[in-house]
Structure formats: structure tokens, C-alpha cells
Amino acid sequence: MAITDPPKIVTARIGHDDSHTLGRYLATGGYDGLRKALTMTPEAVAAEVDAASLLGRGGAGFPAGRKWSMLRKAPVTYLVVNGDESEPATFKDHLLVERDPHQLVEGVVIAAYALQVSQVFIFLRGEFALGLERVQAALNDAYAHGAVGRDIFGSGFSVDVVVHPGAGAYICGEETALLESLEGKRGFPRIKPPFFPAAIGLYGDPTVVNNVETMSNLPWILLNGGAAFAALGGGRSTGTRLFALAGHVNNPGVYELEMVTTTFNDLINAPVLGGGIPHGRGLKAFIPGGVSAPWFGPDQIDLPLGQDEVAEAGSMLGSGSVVVMDDHTCAVRAAWRITKFFSRESCGQCTPCREGSGWLERIMERIERGQGREEDLDLLLDACDNIAPGLTWPPQQTTICVLGPSIPSSISSAITMFRDEFLVHIKEGGCPYE
């Protein structure tokens, strides 16, 4: 079976130029999943999603059905969709909001029906200018079509959906910071416990926060059944997933692939996918799941694209962003760039992340510029340890949210895998790749 054989669950429509329009959507089975859901009980819809074993696509990979079942019963509950995709090299939700906004809207209404919430907020990254425009236009059309709003398709179920543009902070992709921002406050993450959104979320009410891609899977699951979804993939990693392939490959882009049955090697090197590394260079390392994930070396390229398989190997599938570094890449510089990103995006609320990220960045920069000292390597690891005690994976943390323990991943990976390269920077007083 070819790696391109399994069904396209969320990207079936994106080949069309008008994939974002209601016309194309309806012509390709749009809103049929919602119509079907509305004939079922909310519990049955949730059961279907549970049966699909759909893992959250935002990064943590928590089963969506389980998450829904944990929603505290209360008079007012909310569904919030996290579309604040802002990490370097992560761009799979970007595709979905621009190219298939109706699929997102349909998924949102299905989820709202299953959860019986009457108010949904879609929090979209503010820089997604076209995506915001298209999701809003899709919503307007969906309202006119009767797929959102009062008495949807005559079912008696009503829900309002509001699109909220983010204001440019990466931290608002962290779900509790997102809720704070949605409430009009500074994007500061909340402390868990007790602020688990399912218990105390938006405006203090129980809230489900789901990712854009997670929502976009729901129409297919409703139409084809949870079992059909669960039949794809392997183990806990069912269905397909979007992978944003970036870095040193011939064909960077977003690929929808069946989980587990496909490997990193397929993604990076298959001619129909990444197409290999340009200029005939070799693979130095790759980041399997976004820049907060520990790096892998060439020896792990045959790992399957499965959540548990990657976790067991010491990293994570995370946001589905795969970054490829060829053998001409400076590991110090790469880790420094990632650290610099986290330092700029730390919210500044809690001490280890606010101060630690800036310090680590400055040390990394110093080494890259040739002013490092050998003791800096131990210092880097110990300072990382003070943010993520033990430097274990999954990490522990001294911080409020997981942005803190995201910082050490690239530094400790780079030092562990390429210690010699650091020493060359230090001894030669500069970067050997310049």
C-alpha cells in the first residue's frame, strides 16, 4: 500500500481553488456530517468521537473524547477553538483555516452539539489575515445556510460562534492564557491546578478547548463513523494527521498521512512527500514535533509517525511540525534561534521562564559568537534543570505553564548530540559553519 493511499480526512478539498467557499463545500458533502449528528443524541455523537480515539491535534495529544467527558456539568459551559498557531515551523492549522474554513465550522458545530454548549469562540492567530477573513466569511455563509445560529437545520439546537483574532502573542496558544486573552486580560497562563479549563475555564465556567485540526476531523468521523477512523493508524494513534514539514527538504509543506504506518523516513525522503534533502547533503538531525520537542538523530529516522512511539523514543509528535536539519547546519545556532524565540515569547509572568529564557539565549549567542567557555555547557544544562528539574521527558517544571520546560529541549538536545560542536565554537572562537 502506498503512503498516499489512505483517505484524505481533512485535506480532501484543498486541491480546489474555491475550497473555502460554501458552494464547493456543499458540492463535496459539506455539512452532511452535521446533519447526521443532529439526528443523533449528543451522547451518541460524543461516543462516536470517543470510538474514533481521536487524539487532540494541538500538541499534547490528549484524547478528544476523554477531554469532552471531563467537562464539569454546569449551567453555562463553553467550547473554545484554539487556532493561535504561532510556533516557528508549525503551519498545519494555517492551511485548514485558509483552505477549508467550512470544515472547521462544521466540526465546531458538531462538537458544540455533542457538548451541548450554546456559545463557541474560535481564537485565531491575529497574523492569519486571510484565514480570519475566510473563517468569518464561512461563518457568515453558514449562518445564512442555517448551519450555525438558531435552530440549526430545524433541529432545535442553537449555537453562536464568534471569531476572535489574537493580538500577536505566542503564549496565547497555551489554553489558559488564551482564555485570559479572550476575557480581555493579559495573556498570562493560569495555574493548574486548579484552573483546568474543563473545571474552571472561560469566565470561570467549564470550557473545552480544542485545536483547529481536531475540530476539522469531526465531519468525516460523523459521516464515516468512529470505527472507520480508528481503523486507520495504529495503537493509540488513530486516523491521519497533518504534518508540517520544514527545513532542509526538497518539498516542504503540509502532508496528511496515516499515523504509525508512515515513518519519518517516508515523510522526509519519499519522492511524493519531502523528496529528500537538497544538494545531496546528509541528515544531521530532525525535530519530530515542533521546536519545543527534543531532537532526533538520523538513527531514529525509521520511527513511525505515532504519538506513543515518538514519546517512548524520548520526544513528542507535538504539533506535527517536523524540522529537518542537514549536515551543514550549526547545531549551536539552531538551538540559539529556538531559544531566542521562546525568550521573546515568554509572557514574563513567572520567574524561571522570564529570566531563564533570556539568560540561556544570551549564553547560546555568546557561544555561537565565539565567546563561550567550557563551563558554559554545564551552566546551560544546570540552568535548564532549574526550569525543568531533572531534564526528563516528559518534563517536570518549576514554571506555571509548559512554555518554560519547552526552552531546555533544544539546548539539552544540541549539547547531548553535538557536544563536540560546542567545544569547537569555544576553542576556535567562532562558528565553524561561517
Binding site: I191, P193, C350
Partner: protein, 891 residues
């Protein structure tokens, strides 16, 4: 901080291997501290919400996935919880957090005001790494930037704990400072074009755990280790906030709030905090002076007191009412008592008044059932029949605001204009001057509401809330251009309609309640008894007594000015730390009185216009220069401490009074402030049992409410101060014995012998005033259609001596403006920001106006003691009328 939990709500958990007890809902950090384990912290403050951001208080808490690091300030202790505060993992986290906090911290401790009392310094020493591994360039910001007239911000020192921003938002209710930026560049900032004008800004400096926030008056003034401290009570207003008074080289350097449960929770207002600096002014009066050939000449105390004795004796020979004594709210209870005894018991005059036309009838204040601040804060309903509490009694505003915002308190505001509490009031009803009684009648019975309050829903809601007990009424002066009897009449109506209601008098002068308790009011004797009821008791104790009720301040001044219809003129005036020229609402009458009085004695601490009229000036010790006691609005008696030696020959007031008595031929037997208190405790029936031993005990540290038994007295030792919550305040080890149960019980009703008198045939203890008194309520004519009615209200920073004497505060006195209902402005054709001409019976002023939709039609308002156009609002007030009607014209 409350101690309300019953033992049944306590449970056990494991702390570092020990089994300890915690209360339901108690934060782990607090439970550990009570169990004797201090967990280091920066952002945590027991009086504010926890945010868990500094990460210094991480401890290991066992859970389903093993022990994890959790912020102990954010999670509650739970039964069976296993907590470790001293594991290697915790210590590593503490090391790490401190190292992180210090990498960008400038370490300019040698030039930092906080150095020596800095929680960052202290906890780094106790918990941190010995050395830094940071070799990079630190983050830089422009060194201190002023964020208000009083507060400077050094962003390099800031550790982003958010104590200041939380205080501003949660406690003061004014989110005027907040964070901007993110990551390393996050910084505290004011909003563009919006300054940090909070009256409570000094608290942000006090609770800052580093030297990021400094107050301009204290900046570079001292090093903490050079400071010495006594515990005292602030007497800038009458709330009675507990303070630490700190000095160096006999110079007061600063006041810091001390956290006591019943009153101030550690907070101070900026006026109280910074006005204390007045004691340092260079031009303090240091020697007695007598006017000779038109100029005041320094003389000995002997000569000055001889001159006073001669002048006063000459006056009272013509009739006791020829002498008037005005003031006394600045004094300690002991000073007030000594002067009351000299005036009433030696000189025989009852024309004595501690209030300056800005108060309420003494019989009403002393007779109404008194509430405590805690009772008000925990009441179901508080009726506000007073001026703006934030302007007059700022920390009472904090307590009431907190109770209304966080608690179950409903506020019913009866006021001519919007106040700082209007936004938090469940019901806010407006009335024009003279209509307070009518409004209360409409609320408690079925009277017709004044035009401005004809809102049936609001009246109905007000009625519902008054029916819900308990009710506390805060009664003060909504307007000083309205006769005090008018608001007293409204209070009386509330007291009669709500027999269970208690009252909190919102009289703002420092120890005015103590002065009234001590008898510095016409018709009143010490111990809250009337002249008539106390006649036999005090005749035995004192000998002489006034024959009849005397005059209050307004009548004294009128009689001195020659307006003494039928009565005798006032020829001699004693001003006890009072200045009628700025304190009395009718400015013109005060000036005429001082110009006309034949013999004026000023007991004063500093120069002022009033001294131009004085024939003798007696220099007195200020607050912080003499020990004694003071009494707050609740009747809470607490110690004031002496930290400084009075300048030159200035004496404490009790000593001046005692020595004057000697010159008048009476030795009162006072040889220390303690002996004065002992006599008060003996003769003032409201103060029976509140002995020096009680006041000095651990339980007395928070003050004791008179009469004993009317409010619980804490028997427990005060918990030690948290040095991180209030950096700079040293725990004061009290000298006195621990209060024993029984010592603070209500005294029995047996008679006590008066001092120096034989006990045989001793008179029966007089009854205290109680209930509502007879009032002399003036008739208010309806306003004619051409007039507007004046409301004269207070602002915190006014031209009074407490503000004017302090450079840091004097700049905050703003120009006044006349507030007018916008429809009235439209009718006049005057634009906002324009000017109008105001004519009263006494003056004509041209004043700027601004629209205020909260005012009823035909009611205008302005603040006292600030410049208003080409004069002040006091120029317009005529004491001869119960309300002040003005003609308002466009120019």
C-alpha cells in the same frame, strides 16, 4: 488572618515528616507558617489574592504521580497531604529561582533604600546560592522614573511580583498601574496620560519586596539599620491605623502600616503616611511667646503661663462664658482630659468645643449605639449618610469597599453628589441640602421623597436593604454648607426607625472622638456623660463645675465677633491646636472673631496666620513626640508612641494644662502621662476598666474599644509579623504582661471613689449618654427659583496645615472647581470649562465650572480649603443660615 474557624474544621497533614494541623481553606504557605515552617516567598501577600508567579514558595507535594513541585501560596492544604519544604529538589528550585531573580537585578544594594530590609537580600542570604554564574550584560532601563508625585519606579530592580499592581486593583480599586511588555522586558507602567493618583500609593512602596518602588519623601533619607522604631497610631484622621514610627537622629523618617485585623489590615493612606513629616518642619514653635508692644516675644514658660492665667481669670470674672476654648482633636486623650478639667473644672467654662463647625452634635455622637469597623464591614447593609469616605477617612473606604466588593455588604448611599463608593453602592439616592431628613423619612416610612430621589425602584430596594439586618449607619457631614443639626436630624430618624442599627461617626479630625469622650464639648463631661448627669460625680472629683451648658464653636466665634444676641460676649479665646481661619467653614466669621477677641491664647506646634491674632503662644509637642492614647471612630483606644524628643521647650498638652492649673492655683496632681490616664480610667465611666495594664498587654496592642465589653478584646498574643509582607517593620516585643481572661471583662457597676476624695458618701456613677438627643433643627425654607444650593465637601489633599506643611503633599492640592448639574449649565448657557459668577450673602466669586450629572438640579458643589476661582468656597458660607443659597450667573 481571621480566626473564625472552629476546631472541627481543622484537619491534619504531613509537613516535613511532622503531623501538623491546618484550617479548612488555608493556603499551604500559611498553614506551614503557623506550624513554624517559613516558606520563602516574594509575590505572596496575606492581604491580597495569590498569583503564584515568583515561584519562590515551591514545595514538594505528593500526588498520584509522585511528589511534584507546587506553589505553596496557591494551593490549599488538604487532609492527609504530604508536603516537603526542605528536600534537595525544593532547595535546588529555591536556588534556581533566586539565581534567576538576581541575574537581571542590578545589585545596587549599597545605594538602594531597601538595602538592609530587603526580602530579596534576606532570602538570598537564607536560601540562595552563594555566587552568581551570570556573566552577561544585565537588562537596563532608565533609572527611577516617577510614576506619581510620591512614588518612583526603578524597573531594573523590579522582580515582577505584581504586589503593587494587585494592590492597586484589588485593594485600592484603582488599576492605575499594570504590566506592559512581556518576557524579560515586562515592566510596571502607568497608562499613557493617566498618572498614578491613588490616595493609597504609599502602600505599594511598603509592600514592594525590593527597592523598585520608592517614595520621594523617604528616598535616600536613611538606612534601615540606623532607624529606630516605636509602634503607634496614626492620628492624621480618626480611623486609627496602626503604624510603626521610625526615626533616625531624632528626625522622623517614615511611617509604615502595621497589620491589625480590626482596623487597617496594614494599609495607610498617603496623607497619613507622608503628612507625619510635618513634625520635622524647620519652623516649629520652640519657645513660649507673649505679645509685647504688638509683637510676639519669646518668654519663659513661667511668664507665659502667668500671662495666660491672668488673662483667663480676668475673662471668667465677667462670667464663665466669656472664655471660649476651641479645638482639642489634635491632642491625645490625656491632653484632652487635662484641658477639659482645666476649662470646666478650674476655670468653670463650658464653652469648650473640639469640633470646628464641621462635626455633629456631641450628644448624638456619644449617645448613638456605636459600631466597630468590623461590624460595618460584616453588616448586611451600611447606610452612608456622610461625605466621600475616601476623601475623609481613606482606610475606612478600603474596608467598606472590600466588604462591598468581596463580601456580602450592601451599601445604601444617601448623598447630594456621587462619591468614591457610589460605584459599589446597591442603592444611591440623591438629595439637596436640607432634604436629608425628608429622604430618610421616605426610606423608613412613607414620607414623600425629595425631588432628586424620586426613584420608586431605588427607594423600594433601599427599604428592603434596611429591613435586612444588621444595619450600620456611617454618619458624618455630607456638606459643611449645611447646618449639622440637619444631618443629625436625619440620623436621629434612622436611629428611631431602626432600633437595632449601630452608628459609625465619620468625624475625620485625628482624635476628635477622644476629645468628645474627654468632655471637650459643650454640655459634656468626661466619660460620655452630660453635664447634668455627671454633676454630682464630677463635683466630687473635680470640685468646681460649669453652672450651665456653654457654647459650641460657632456660637463662641459669633459671640467673640460681637454677634451675641442676648448672651454675654466672649472676650478670651483658647485655641487648642486649632486654626479657625482654615478649619471653620465660615471663614469671615472666624476672622472677625479673632480680630475682636480681647485675649487669644494659641496652643500650637507651628506658625500660621492664626498666630497673628494670638496674645500668648504656647508651643506644644506634636504627634510622635509624646506618649499617650488616642481614640478612633469606633471608640477604640490605642497607644500612641513617643519616638522623638519635642523641639526646644515644646511640652505635651497634658503638661501645659497641668502647669496652667498650677498657675491658676490648682494642682491637678498630674506628674506623668500615666497618672492622667489613671485618673481618666477612674472618673470617665465609659473608660472604666481600661487600665494601663490592659492597654499595655499583648491583647491591647490592637486597641481596646470603650466601654469595655462592647467589643471583643483579643486575649491572644499577636502573631509575629511576616517580614516579607511588610519589609522594614520590626516585630515589637511588647513589654506588658499577657492579658489574662477576666482582666478585660466589663467593670462591675459599683461606685469607685474619685481621685483624692474620701469614699464615704461618694456619689453614684453617672449614666452614659444613650439614645437620640434633643436637637435644635433649623427650619429650611424652600429655595427660590433663582438660587442654587451649595454643597461644600472635603478632599483629602486640601489647604489644611497637615498637607501644607509637607512639601511632598502640598503640590497635590489641586485648584477647585464648581460642579453643576449639566442641565443647569445649559440653562445658563455656560460651557464646561467656563466660568460663572457666584453671589452669596458674604461674598462674590468668579469660579470655573464643570458638569456633574450626579448632582440634583439647582444644587452645586465645591470642595473646602482648595482655591476656587478668586477665593475659596468658605468665603461663600454664612453661618447665619442653615443652608447656603447662591445666585449663579453667567459672566
Amino acid at each position: 488572618m481571621s480566626d473564625q474557624t472552629t476546631p472541627s474544621e481543622e484537619f491534619e497533614f504531613t509537613l516535613d515528616g511532622r503531623t501538623v494541623r491546618a484550617r479548612k481553606g488555608e493556603l499551604l504557605i500559611a498553614a506551614a507558617e503557623r506550624a513554624g515552617t517559613f516558606v520563602p516567598r516574594f509575590c505572596y501577600h496575606p492581604r491580597m489574592s495569590s498569583v503564584g508567579v515568583c515561584r519562590m514558595c515551591l514545595v514538594e507535594v505528593s500526588g498520584p504521580r509522585g511528589a511534584t513541585l507546587m506553589p505553596s501560596c496557591f494551593i490549599e492544604a488538604a487532609p492527609g497531604m504530604e508536603v516537603t519544604t526542605d528536600s534537595d529538589k525544593v532547595k535546588k528550585a529555591q536556588d534556581g529561582v533566586l539565581e534567576f531573580l538576581l541575574i537581571n537585578h542590578p545589585l545596587d544594594c549599597p545605594v538602594c533604600d531597601k538595602g538592609g530590609e530587603c526580602p530579596l537580600q534576606d532570602q538570598t542570604l537564607a536560601y540562595g546560592p552563594g555566587e552568581t554564574r551570570f556573566v552577561e550584560e544585565k537588562r537596563h532601563f532608565e533609572k527611577p522614573i516617577p510614576i506619581s508625585e510620591l512614588v518612583l519606579l526603578d524597573r531594573e530592580r523590579c522582580i515582577q511580583c505584581s504586589r503593587c499592581t494587585r494592590f492597586a486593583e484589588e485593594v485600592a480599586g484603582e488599576a492605575q498601574i499594570d504590566f506592559i511588555g512581556r518576557g524579560e522586558q515586562i515592566q510596571v507602567s502607568t497608562f499613557p496620560e493617566l498618572p498614578f493618583t491613588s490616595y493609597f500609593s504609599g502602600n505599594t512602596v511598603q509592600i514592594c519586596p525590593v527597592g523598585a518602588l520608592t517614595a520621594s519623601p523617604y528616598r535616600f533619607a536613611a538606612r534601615p539599620w540606623d532607624l529606630d522604631q516605636v509602634e503607634s497610631t496614626c492620628t492624621t484622621c480618626s480611623v486609627g491605623c496602626r503604624v510603626a514610627v521610625q526615626s533616625s537622629s531624632n528626625r522622623l523618617t517614615r511611617l509604615l502600616g502595621i497589620d491589625i485585623d480590626p482596623v487597617n489590615h496594614g494599609w495607610l493612606c498617603d496623607k497619613g503616611r507622608f503628612a507625619a513629616d510635618a513634625v520635622n518642619r524647620e519652623d516649629r514653635l520652640v519657645e513660649p511667646m507673649v505679645r509685647k508692644d504688638g509683637t510676639l516675644v519669646a518668654v519663659s514658660w513661667h511668664e507665659a503661663l502667668e500671662t495666660v492665667a491672668k488673662g483667663l481669670r480676668a475673662a471668667v470674672v465677667e462670667g464663665a462664658d466669656s472664655l471660649g476654648v476651641i479645638g482639642g482633636a489634635r491632642l491625645t486623650n490625656e491632653g484632652a482630659y487635662a484641658w477639659a478639667r482645666v476649662a470646666k473644672g478650674v476655670l468653670g467654662t463650658d464653652s469648650v468645643d473640639a469640633q470646628l463647625g464641621d462635626g455633629l452634635p456631641a450628644e448624638l455622637v456619644l449617645g448613638l449605639p456605636r459600631a466597630t469597623i468590623d461590624q460595618a464591614a460584616s453588616a448586611a447593609t451600611v447606610v452612608l449618610l456622610t461625605g466621600d469616605v475616601r476623601e475623609e477617612l481613606p482606610v475606612l473606604f478600603l474596608r467598606l469597599r472590600a466588604a462591598a466588593v468581596d463580601g456580602d455588604l450592601s451599601l445604601v448611599e444617601l448623598s447630594p453628589q456621587a462619591t468614591s463608593l457610589t460605584a459599589h453602592a446597591a442603592v444611591s439616592l440623591r438629595y439637596g441640602p436640607g432634604d436629608a431628613r425628608a429622604l430618610v423619612d421616605a426610606l423608613v416610612s412613607d414620607g414623600t421623597a425629595p425631588e432628586a430621589a424620586k426613584d420608586a425602584d431605588a427607594l423600594a430596594e433601599g427599604r428592603r436593604l434596611l429591613a435586612e439586618g444588621p444595619v450600620v449607619v456611617v454618619v458624618g457631614r455630607p456638606s459643611l454648607a449645611e447646618d449639622a443639626e440637619l444631618v443629625a436630624d436625619a440620623a436621629r430618624a434612622l436611629a428611631e426607625a431602626l432600633p437595632e442599627a449601630r452608628f459609625l461617626p465619620a468625624l475625620r479630625r485625628g482624635n476628635v472622638l477622644g476629645a468628645l469622650d474627654m468632655g471637650l464639648a459643650p454640655g459634656i463631661l468626661p466619660g460620655r456623660v452630660s453635664l447634668e448627669a455627671g454633676r454630682a460625680w464630677f463635683a466630687a472629683a473635680w470640685g468646681t463645675l460649669p453652672e450651665a451648658r456653654g457654647r459650641g464653636t460657632a456660637e463662641i466665634l459669633a459671640a467673640a465677633a460681637g454677634d451675641h444676641a442676648g448672651g454675654s460676649p466672649v472676650t478670651a479665646l483658647v485655641l487648642l491646636g486649632s486654626d479657625p481661619l482654615t478649619d471653620f467653614p465660615d471663614r469671615r466669621l472666624a476672622r472677625r472673631a479673632l480680630e475682636s477677641a480681647g485675649f487669644v491664647v494659641a496652643v500650637a506646634t507651628a506658625p500660621g496666620d492664626v498666630l497673628e491674632h494670638a496674645d500668648v503662644v504656647l508651643p506644644a509637642a506634636e504627634a510622635h513626640e509624646r506618649p499617650g492614647t488616642t481614640t478612633n471612630i469606633e471608640g477604640r483606644i490605642s497607644r500612641v508612641g513617643q519616638k522623638l524628643v519635642p523641639p526646644g521647650q515644646a511640652w505635651p498638652d497634658w503638661m501645659i494644662a497641668g502647669e496652667l492649673a498650677v498657675h491658676l492655683g490648682h494642682d491637678l496632681g498630674f506628674d506623668s502621662v500615666g497618672t492622667v490616664w489613671d485618673e481618666i480610667e477612674q472618673v470617665a465611666v465609659s473608660h472604666r476598666g481600661i487600665t494601663r495594664t490592659v492597654l499595655d498587654s499583648h491583647g491591647g496592642a490592637d486597641g481596646v474599644v470603650a466601654p469595655l465589653g462592647s467589643s471583643p478584646v483579643s486575649l491572644s498574643r499577636r502573631e509575629p509579623l511576616d517580614p516579607v509582607a511588610v519589609p522594614g517593620v520590626e516585630s515589637v516585643e511588647r513589654q506588658g504582661a499577657s492579658l489574662q481572661a477576666g482582666m478585660a471583662s466589663s467593670p462591675n457597676a459599683s461606685t469607685a471613689p474619685a481621685p483624692g476624695e474620701p469614699s464615704a458618701g461618694a456619689p453614684v456613677r453617672p449614666a452614659m449618654l444613650s439614645g437620640v438627643p434633643e436637637l435644635d433643627v433649623p427650619h429650611v425654607s424652600p429655595a427660590d427659583g433663582y438660587s442654587v444650593r451649595l454643597v461644600a465637601s472635603r478632599v483629602l489633599y486640601d489647604g489644611g496645615s497637615a498637607v501644607e506643611a509637607v512639601p511632598a503633599l502640598a503640590g497635590l492640592v489641586g485648584p477647585g472647581v464648581l460642579r453643576v448639574n449639566p442641565h443647569d449649565l445649559d440653562a445658563l448657557g455656560v460651557a464646561p470649562g467656563g466660568e460663572v459668577r457666584l453671589r452669596s450673602t458674604t461674598a462674590t466669586l468668579v469660579v470655573p465650572v464643570e458638569p456633574d450629572p450626579s448632582l440634583p438640579r439647582k444644587v452645586v458643589a465645591a470642595d473646602l480649603n482648595v482655591p476656587l476661582g478668586d477665593g475659596t468656597v468658605a468665603d461663600l458660607i454664612d453661618r447665619a443660615f442653615p443652608v447656603v443659597d447662591l445666585r449663579m450667573e453667567s459672566l
